[in-house]
């Protein structure tokens, strides 16, 4: 059965936070509640549990992998095709160190970008709950309601908190 989201836009942060508080008080699961905003707000703003990102770790991991790749490619090339040039060693550590670093950065940068997309599950084909007012700066609370009887409840709670526009969004 399709998930139904209740989407409520608020003109102000305070009222939106209030709406979330009401939902939590009504035993809506925190993991089903989200806020769409035009700017990032401090995590504490909504009274929801803080989220963690693994991007830094991913970038660091791939930085290391890139370093290994870079050195392997540079040194391996020298190893397989040992062409002497200018009485430089076949495995020239300073030169290959530079290649190692550049490879590491390329890997790290792209890992951070691809990791971001993966972590945020973007780009997506799904029609996810959204309200155009978000881009006007209106915080918009979305609540996933697995049980259809909770939908009305959520709507009324959010209206009570001062939501301007409350919609249902089914996937």
């Amino acid at each position: 059965m399709a998930d139904v989201y209740v989407v409520a836009t608020f003109p102000e942060v305070d009222t939106a936070a209030d709406g979330i508080k009401r939902l939590l008080d009504a035993h809506f699961a925190a993991r089903n509640i989200d806020v769409l905003t035009g700017v990032p707000y401090p995590p504490e703003t909504w009274g929801l549990p803080a989220l963690k990102s693994n991007i830094r770790k991913i970038a660091a991991l791939f930085f290391a992998i890139g370093a290994a790749c870079g050195f392997t490619v540079a040194a391996g090339t020298g190893w397989l095709y040992p062409l002497p040039t200018g009485a430089k060693a076949i495995i020239t550590l300073p030169a290959y160190g530079i290649i190692t670093y550049e490879f590491a950065t390329i890997f790290g940068v792209f890992a951070a970008a691809i990791g971001t997309l993966a972590e945020t599950r973007l780009p997506t084909m799904k029609s996810l709950p959204y309200h155009p007012k978000v881009s006007e700066g209106w915080p918009t609370v979305t609540v996933r309601c697995p049980d259809s009887q909770n939908i009305d409840n959520a709507e009324s709670l959010l209206r009570l908190a001062g939501a301007q526009d409350v919609l249902r969004h089914a996937i």
Partner: protein, 457 residues
């Protein structure tokens, strides 16, 4: 009371949208004229390039032993310009300097486009451009990879890393703004921005990840910018060519790049400020801050330049003295004088005055002059060392031809074209970052007092 503070005023979100997004949707005749002019220059440069490819490198003024000339000094110049955008943005992001917000996007875009332009020069000046891919480390049936001992390969790797990093560093922070554009656009533009926004909604998770990503990128890109300019300097420093073979070139190039790049950032934001009426976003406060950074960069640049100058002057190694004399007493004397006037002797003292730093017109003229000086400086690095290197029997002079001058106009025109097109696909002031500023500086009424909310990111 006239004091310049930040942020100057706070606007409602709708106003910001209106101000900042307008250039994306509203196209004036002035834009078309600029596109026509720069596009013409770009196409002419492109045609010149293809002419040179089809005819041969003899159409340039290059000859033995001046194997690199104007084209490579253009390369170094544009690589230098590309430095500052990403660097300033990353530096200020990492140091959480809030005043950065209105200028980061414009600066980052400058980096990407200057780099895209600069990266063409190594290809332009190849004898057999159509075989450029021999330099790439890809598996091939020729059973040969590239020579990782060559500074040109380091250079290629560094350009790839910096270009990749800068493009992502430009694109990912623009995602929320593409979402805003998507919500404001219709028709074909809506489709385009929907595609660009990748379905950004602004969930808590998205923001958390994006912020982490931006910080990671800033951390990665900042040293890569340093490495990139250092490696460009090593294209010269690794050689045995007199006055190229110096260990100061690394930091000297990095700081020179920062200096000329900062100048271009200021030139660009001033143009944007006038063109789009963004006086309320880009204020003398920014000019003052950027001017201070530029002043420091300029002083350090001069300090390093003087280091190089005085060591080769005092040391008097015969082969170095020949080139030194060319610059300071010979053929290139007036170039040297012009350079010193344009980017040091006149400019740096003026920058020390707040009055100059905060005057948009003065800064505009000043930054243009700095970049003229820096362009000459690149020329003076590349050319004199080559015309009189090696056995004096082979010494020569160098006179660029129209082809090389066309290919000097080409990067400028190309850069303008790219920048003008970018105006139409992304807001040049980061909308969400300004709004975040507003959140950060929001005030709360407490009793009779208006208190500033202290918000940590």
């Amino acid at each position: 009371m006239g004091m310049i503070v930040h942020p100057p005023e706070l606007y409602p979100d709708e106003q910001i949208n209106q101000d900042v997004l307008r250039p994306v949707f509203v196209t004036t005749w002035r834009w078309w004229i600029l596109v026509a002019i720069s596009g013409g220059g770009f196409m002419a440069g492109l045609a010149t390039w293809f002419y040179m490819m089809a005819t041969g490198m003899w159409v340039t003024g290059l000859h033995r032993p001046v194997m690199w000339g104007l084209l490579i000094s253009n390369y170094v110049f544009w690589i230098g310009l590309s430095n500052s955008g990403t660097v300033i943005s990353a530096m200020l992001r990492l140091s959480k300097a809030d005043w950065r917000r209105p200028i980061t996007r414009a600066a980052e875009a400058m980096t990407v486009f200057a780099l895209l332009i600069a990266a063409q020069f190594p290809l332009i000046h190849l004898g057999r451009t159509w075989l450029f891919y021999y330099i790439l480390p890809y598996v091939n049936q020729r059973l040969l990879w590239n020579n990782f001992r060559s500074p040109l390969v380091w250079d290629m790797m560094a350009i790839m890393a910096y270009l990749g990093g800068s493009m992502l560093y430009l694109y990912l922070p623009t995602l929320p703004d593409f979402a805003i554009l998507r919500d404001h656009a219709d028709g074909i533009k809506k489709k385009m921005f929907t595609l660009f926004a990748l379905g950004w909604r602004g969930t808590r998770g998205e923001w958390t990840t994006l912020n982490a990503c931006i910080l990671s990128l800033a951390l990665l890109v900042l040293p890569v910018a340093v490495s990139m300019h250092t490696i460009v300097s090593w294209d010269f420093g690794m050689t045995l060519v007199p006055l190229w073979h110096t260990s100061i070139f690394g930091p000297y190039f990095v700081i020179g790049a920062l200096y000329s790049g900062m100048a271009l950032v200021i030139t660009i934001i001033l143009i944007l400020r006038w063109a789009f009426g963004w006086q309320r976003y880009i204020t003398p406060y920014h000019l003052d801050k950027l001017g201070k950074i530029m002043l420091v960069a300029g002083l350090v640049w001069f300090y390093l330049w003087f280091n190089d100058y005085v060591t080769s002057w005092y040391g008097k190694l015969p082969e170095e003295k020949i080139i030194f004399d060319l610059k300071n007493a010979g053929t290139y004397y007036w170039w040297q004088i012009t350079m010193m006037l344009a980017n040091t002797m006149v400019t740096l003292p003026l920058l020390a005055f707040k009055k100059f730093r905060t005057s948009p017109l003065a800064m505009f003229i000043l930054t243009i002059f700095i970049n003229i000086g820096m362009w000459i400086e690149r020329l003076l690095i590349v050319v004199p060392s080559l015309v009189e290197k090696g056995p004096s029997f082979t010494w020569t002079t160098y006179h660029p031809t129209w082809v090389e001058w066309m290919l000097t106009v080409y990067p400028l025109a190309g850069f303008m074209v790219l920048y003008l097109l970018f105006i139409k696909i992304a807001p040049l002031i980061s909308v969400w970052e300004i709004r975040e500023d507003k959140v950060a500086y929001a005030t709360k009424k407490m009793g009779q007092a208006e208190l500033r909310a202290v918000v940590a990111e």
